[in-house]
């Protein structure tokens, strides 16, 4: 673990600066380490010193400070101290409070294991579960209602629809939640967001078309192969539980963390971490949520690698994955993904769409990308002279130009609604620059 790898764990540069001042043994008492666990006491503004513990296997941390920022400066400070001076944390037996924390974490894992055992004893198959049949029937009814609503809004017209208050869409989304189809509720909630800015009509119609295709496909659920059924269920909101995944055997590999993206809405944050398997030579996506400033389960950083096993969620083109603990977090070995020209990538993507027409994001590793500036705009050009549209959410386009220095680059990112959202750059001298 290197100090610079801890950078991306820090919620802000300021938090990192504060944490760095705590990366000194003299700021701590009762320091120790055992296995992947580190602990110590740090005097803060309270009368009692804060008790801080970190599990370096997944960067989970516990601190008694009142900070709502996660990880707090004390946990980050301890990680930085460990990275810089590991000898300042003597190897000791786990103190009681750390042992308790470890036991509670293991307890949670065991409870998950217990769930798997039960599942393995005969209740694993979602299709065979009468409760799920009932749920699917309820979803079907909800989708019939949604289809009528979609027809109504086209009768009404987008111009009038765009004038509707947010509550109008929220009401429809709530009915989908009642119908136990939260995936569809999410798509409805996203509709008003697409009704702004240039080209909003096109975007809204695409979104409406996507919803319609999903509900029509779902209405014929029984007719599809099993993995496509899984895909549709997942899109509609029936998710496979992590304990079910834990029971499956996964793919063991060294998984390089190549990109990270976080999105927030109100107090909910979603993190997307892209991994690349060195030997399996495939991408995996870890999706994680936190609410109200809480922590993510996956605290891995671009530039590191996980040596361990991951399991893909079922689906027709498995992409989303779950990490089976324990994994060993180590320094990245360098990104060796074979980049594609833009035209090759578009062919690969079109093929993927022919298998899974509901693909919303797709990992893009593009090589030979030239970066140009025109007044205030940055333009990416493929080696074939085709424009690679940049996603409007990408705010660091001038960094692409600065790094390129006029030479072609290799860029990793997400292909999202026919636009590229870059997450990292590989320079001509094989330096990896994280853009997350």
């Amino acid at each position: 673990m290197k100090p610079d790898q801890i950078t991306s764990l820090a919620p802000s540069p300021d938090a990192l600066r504060r944490a760095q001042s705590l990366a000194h043994a003299r700021k701590w008492t009762d320091l120790g380490q055992s296995g992947s666990y580190l602990w110590g006491s740090c005097q803060g503004s309270g009368s009692k010193a804060y008790l801080v513990a970190v599990d370096t296997s997944d960067f989970a941390s516990k601190c008694t400070c009142p900070s709502r920022v996660f990880p707090c400066k004390h946990a980050l400070g301890m990680l930085l101290l460990f990275a810089g001076q590991p000898e300042s944390l003597p190897v000791l037996a786990l103190p009681e409070w750390v042992g308790e924390w470890r036991r509670s974490r293991e307890g949670r894992a065991e409870r998950r294991e217990g769930g798997i055992t039960n599942n393995e004893q005969g209740t694993r198959k979602v299709e065979g579960n009468p409760r799920n049949d009932k749920r699917i029937n309820r979803m079907m009814l909800g989708m019939q209602e949604l289809e009528v609503w979609l027809q109504d809004i086209l009768q009404m017209g987008l111009a009038e629809l765009s004038q509707q208050p947010f509550e109008y869409f929220e009401g429809v989304a709530a009915r989908m939640v009642d119908a136990q189809a939260p995936g569809l509720a999410g798509l409805i909630r996203a509709l008003p967001g697409s009704m702004a800015g240039e080209g909003w009509q096109e975007r809204s119609l695409s979104q409406i078309g996507h919803i319609y295709l999903l509900l029509k496909a779902f209405q014929k659920l029984e007719q599809w192969p099993e993995d496509f059924q899984d895909e549709l269920k997942s899109l509609a909101g029936i998710h496979v539980k992590k304990d079910q995944l834990e029971a499956k055997s996964g793919i063991s590999d060294v998984w390089e963390v190549v990109g990270k993206r976080t999105e927030s809405q109100d107090r909910l944050e979603m993190q997307r971490l892209w991994l690349w398997g060195h030997h399996s030579r495939q991408f995996a996506l870890l999706i994680d949520f936190s609410f109200g400033g809480g922590s993510f389960s996956y605290n891995y950083m671009p530039g590191t690698a996980l040596a361990g096993e991951i399991v893909f969620y079922p689906g027709i083109l498995p992409e989303r994955a779950h990490v089976k603990l324990p994994v060993k977090v180590q320094a990245g070995e360098g990104v060796l993904i074979p980049g594609k020209s833009f035209s090759d990538f578009l062919n690969v993507y079109a093929n993927a769409l022919s298998i899974n027409p509901f693909l919303s994001t797709y990992p893009a590793w593009l090589s030979g990308v030239s970066v140009f500036s025109e007044a205030e705009n940055i333009i990416l050009l493929s080696d074939g002279g085709k424009k690679i549209p940049l996603h409007p959410a990408f705010q660091r386009s001038w960094e692409l130009l600065a790094v390129s220095g006029g030479q072609p680059l290799s860029i990793f990112g997400e292909w999202l609604a026919n636009r590229l959202l870059p997450l990292g750059i590989l320079t001509s001298n094989y330096r990896w620059i994280n853009l997350s």
Binding site: P13, K27, G46, G157, L205, L353, G385, K387
Partner: protein
């Protein structure tokens, strides 16, 4: 698609789609049982086709010249990690310090940081030469690509003819420093066509390298119809020794500022109509607590170089200041002496005045921090250090000094080793005294401590850190400020270790 888009926007209730004319989609629409279902089927297929058959636009762009190769290597990951934090801290001093270390290390800032740096460096007034040294050729290569960053590029004579006002101003400054004769011609040409705002901007640029040759530029501006132009020109004229303005002021002061039998006699001047041109009705000294007439007195005396009184009255600055303090209009006179010393950059007077200010806390209300800073900066470093250390030598004096923190912190220079060390020792002692007394009042004044930490010789950090052990920071109300101070020192210390 435009027909479909039109219909979908207006609504099928208002706009019917003639599917027979939409040959591309008519087959897909055909299986729909209602107009809305037909359109939904087409939208579903269309969004898929748009994704699967995405046809990127072909563009022909002229070849961009690649950035010149760099002779020095880029920073390693540890250094880049430090620079990431330095840039985000947005402090000119810290940034220049880090860039300086980078230059010494003969390494370059990683190019991904250049856009943010270019966005903030001009606003922070970072030394552009240093910036180029630390960032290499790519800085200019990149700056040329974006209009907002053109300010980082070297100027040419063409900038004066066709450039923006900012570029013209920069060219004028450059010429003034390097070729004063050319700058003089530029001024003459500019004055014929410039708007009032442009004239103000150019006038303000005369301050550096101000000389007697500038009197001809400035004196006519005192008759300008716009007050802001007059206000910009007047203080500059008072900075040039022996201008016509100063001679006029000396003459006017004869009647109200005299030495009679070793006693300084000060009276308020009677303002005449023709005096108004010389700023009497423009400048106010109310913020320093002076009334209107005392303000006139201050304005008059502040234009006269202080050494004029030494020669006229055959008295030393020390004695003259003492006599001024005993005069009827003491505060107006001392403020005038202070302003005049600053304008004439008179270190001898500045030193004596600063000693007086140290001794008379009443003067702190009259001579405001920004004025004091200018005064401090005139004093030779050795003398300044001696004054600071003397002021800090008494415990109670130091506590008072904290109230007037600006004496230590508001000037921009690096503290000497000796002053810094004395300061931190005294700060610690003072804190302990205040904690014992339960005195919380001055806590808010400590917010400037991180700035002191930025100007502390970094070699002192281990000793300073030992002065403020974590237990001392404890639960006291000062903890936050001290922590900030120590964090800043700690960060700089790490930066030095990484870069040297």
């Amino acid at each position: 698609m435009s027909t479909l888009l039109h219909a979908a926007t207006l609504g099928l209730n208002r706009q019917r789609i003639r599917w027979e004319q939409e040959t591309e989609w008519s087959d897909i629409a055909a299986a729909g049982t209602s107009p809305a279902e037909k359109l939904l089927r087409v939208l579903a297929a269309r969004q898929l086709a748009e994704k699967a058959a995405f046809e990127p636009e072909s563009i022909l762009l002229s070849e961009t010249e690649a950035a010149p190769p760099e002779k020095r290597p880029y920073l390693d990951a540890a250094g880049a990690h430090i620079m990431y934090q330095v840039i985000h801290a947005r402090s000119r001093r810290l940034l220049e310090e880090a860039l300086g270390l980078l230059v010494k290390k003969e390494e370059l800032l990683s190019p991904e940081y250049l856009p943010l740096l270019l966005d903030i460096a001009d606003e922070l007034e970072v030394d552009k030469k240093l910036l180029l040294q630390a960032c290499g050729e790519r800085l200019h290569w990149l700056a040329a690509k974006r209009p907002a960053w053109l300010i980082y590029l070297p100027l040419s004579a063409e900038s004066w003819k066709t450039g923006s006002l900012q570029q013209r101003l920069r060219w004028f400054v450059q010429q003034r420093a390097q070729q004063p004769e050319t700058a003089h011609s530029l001024w003459a040409g500019m004055k014929k066509t410039a708007s009032s705002d442009e004239l103000i901007a150019f006038t303000q640029l005369l301050k550096p390298h101000l000389s007697e040759a500038d009197e001809d530029k400035l004196e006519p501006l005192l008759d300008h119809r716009r007050k802001d132009v007059r206000t910009a020109a007047f203080p500059l004229l008072t900075r040039i020794p022996d201008t016509e303005l100063i001679r006029r002021m000396k003459k006017r002061a004869e009647s109200c500022f005299k030495m009679e039998k070793g006693v300084l006699k000060v009276a308020l001047p009677e303002i005449r109509k023709e005096w108004e041109r010389d700023g009497f009705s423009v400048f106010s000294y109310a913020a320093s607590g002076l009334g209107e007439k005392a303000g006139y007195l201050c304005h008059l005396l502040a234009c006269i170089p202080p050494d004029h009184w030494e020669k006229s009255f055959q008295e030393s600055p020390e004695k003259l200041i003492t006599k001024a303090l005993n005069s009827k209009w003491a505060e107006a006179v001392v403020l005038a002496f202070t302003l005049a010393s600053i304008r004439q950059r008179d270190a001898k007077w500045a030193t004596e005045l600063l000693k007086t200010i140290f001794q008379n806390s009443k003067l702190l209300d009259v001579i405001k921090p920004n004025v004091r800073v200018e005064l401090i900066q005139l004093i030779p470093v050795a003398e300044r250090d001696r004054l600071f250390i003397k002021a800090m030598s008494e415990s109670e004096r130091f506590d008072t000094l904290l109230v007037d923190f600006s004496l230590i912190i508001d000037h921009d220079d690096m503290l000497s080793q000796k002053v810094a060390w004395t300061f931190y020792q005294k700060l610690r002692d003072s804190l302990i005294r205040r904690v014992e007394r339960g005195d919380q009042r001055f806590r808010y004044l400590l917010y400037e401590l991180p700035n002191v930490a930025l100007r502390t010789p970094i070699g002192l950090y281990p000793q300073i850190a030992a002065l403020f052990p974590y237990e001392l920071l404890g639960n006291g109300s000062y903890r936050h400020y001290l922590e900030e101070m120590l964090q800043t020192l700690d960060f700089r210390y790490k930066m030095y270790k990484t870069f040297t």
